[in-house]
């Protein structure tokens, strides 16, 4: 009888721990989704601004073409190719801005300021997303999580690699 009670209590604690882990994992997946939605939104806005810059006086025809192509690529990339495409766009923007053309027209100054503000936000959004993904990977790699399939059908989040130095 005594052993039954002990085994019973042990099982109860164990089940509680499993639900605790599952809740924790669920929250982490949720955090990854939120941080990705945020990053995705910011990147979309960046592509839109890049297209506007390509059409403005800031860009010469050659860079305009390059920038337009990169922006479209970034917008249409699948989630696996996304980071490569976004890095390409960062590169194209970097090339154009490194030329050091300082525009005097107010409309263009506004555009460039908007881009630099957005770049700061993207940098933070990447850090938030990378942290959420790393955390999720860490918890999902626990043996107990794998054995009991606590992650359910949630896909393993993709690590987002971004060349921060071109940003």
């Amino acid at each position: 009888m005594k052993t039954f009670v002990i085994v019973g209590i042990f099982l109860l604690v164990f089940v509680w721990y499993l639900t605790f882990l599952a809740t924790r994992l669920d929250r982490l997946h949720h955090r990854v989704e939120t941080s990705w939605a945020n990053l995705d939104g910011l990147l979309q806005r960046r592509a839109a601004i890049a297209l506007e810059i390509a059409r403005s006086e800031i860009a010469d025809p050659a860079s305009a073409m390059l920038l337009t192509a990169a922006a479209y690529q970034a917008r249409e990339a699948s989630i696996e190719n996304r980071s490569a495409a976004e890095s390409g766009l960062s590169g194209a923007l970097g090339l154009l801005l490194a030329d050091g053309q300082s525009s005097q027209r107010p409309a263009e100054i506004v555009l460039l300021r908007e881009l630099s503000e957005l770049t700061d936000k993207v940098r933070i959004a990447i850090a938030l997303h990378v942290d959420a993904v790393a955390r999720t990977h860490l918890v999902r790699s626990k043996t107990i999580v794998r054995v009991f399939r606590l992650a359910g059908t949630a896909p393993l989040p993709i690590t987002y690699e971004f060349e921060t130095d071109v940003l």
Binding site: F20, E33, T34, S35, K121
Partner: protein, 395 residues
Amino acid sequence: MLTRSLKIGIVCPYGWDTPGGVQNHVRDLAEYLIAAGHDISVLAPVIDETKIPDYVTSAGKPIAIPYNGAVARVLFGPIAFARVRQWIAQGDFDILHLHEPAIPSISLLACWAAEGPMVGTFHAAAKRQKAIFAIGPILEPVIEKLSARIAVSEAARETLTEHLETDAVVIPNGIYADRYRDGVAQAQWQTNTLGFIGRFEEPRKGLSVLVDALPIISRFAPDVRVFVAGPGDTKDVIESIDPQLRSRFTFLGKISEQDKANFLASISLYVAPNTGGESFGIILAEALAGGATVVASDIPAFDSLLNHGEFGELFESESSTDLAKRVIDLLRDDERRIALGKAGKKHAQQFDWKVVADQIFSIYEMSLVSGEKVRLASENRAWSRFIGRDQRGDA
């Protein structure tokens, strides 16, 4: 920036009516956000509940525990937890901003009790602590609920990475730079004067390093005078000063903001000899904003605030001979002293609340993307039902 007004809950872990950097930060942030049109509720431990502003909710009386080389006035326990849960359930917040959620306090309890958009700010910078390692596995599942982490300095960020293996965005503490911008130089505080502001009785503020340096400084600069501003009992400090040099020290007591601005604009050098326990160095940022040339110890927080000496002179921490040498060099070189002060004043503008609050707000925006509200965590809801307590009643 979001145009709609947000309902923001801020949790301050330390006693609201006790002096301290975190409390000042929370108060300034809350007042800035209220002025920007947001609805703010601050939950904090309070000693005297009759003297708190409207936006503060008391979580009970704080208890004093020794932490990180000082006495921290914090609060935890079942009653505090019930109040935290009630505050969250009734607050209907869009976002929670928890300060210092990694120490045992109501911030940690709030992080435990809530789910939804939550931002945490980490203030402390401490060396590796065994105690935190021991409770790390308990803290981790709680801390990872935060959708974004903010560290107030590079040093605080490193502490966080070391102890909890998680990264943070660095956003400095805010100051009202314009309060110090237009100080008027006062003759009584000018010419070969050294200034010190702070609770000088605390050993970690390092006034004794300056006291020990003065015999050497006065040999090379005979007319040097030291002004110490800040609350505290002067008796012990005066006794520790060489009797021949006592006349060089003037204790001003606590001074007003206007006096502080004038003071910073007048003194030849501002000395910050802190020996540690400092995470950001708000007073240093204010001194820079007031146009003072700064000589500070090379503790990590000051080193990064002054960008390795670009915006102020650094001396080897706790070495009064090195402090004396740097002070003498600068007192003799007016050109360099004034140039440093100017560069520092410009540098300090990035710590202005206008800039800092914008950065914090953009972190809020990023956490709000999920479109959810803050609510009690599922396990707490179940628990409240189980023990038959109505969340919205007076638990």
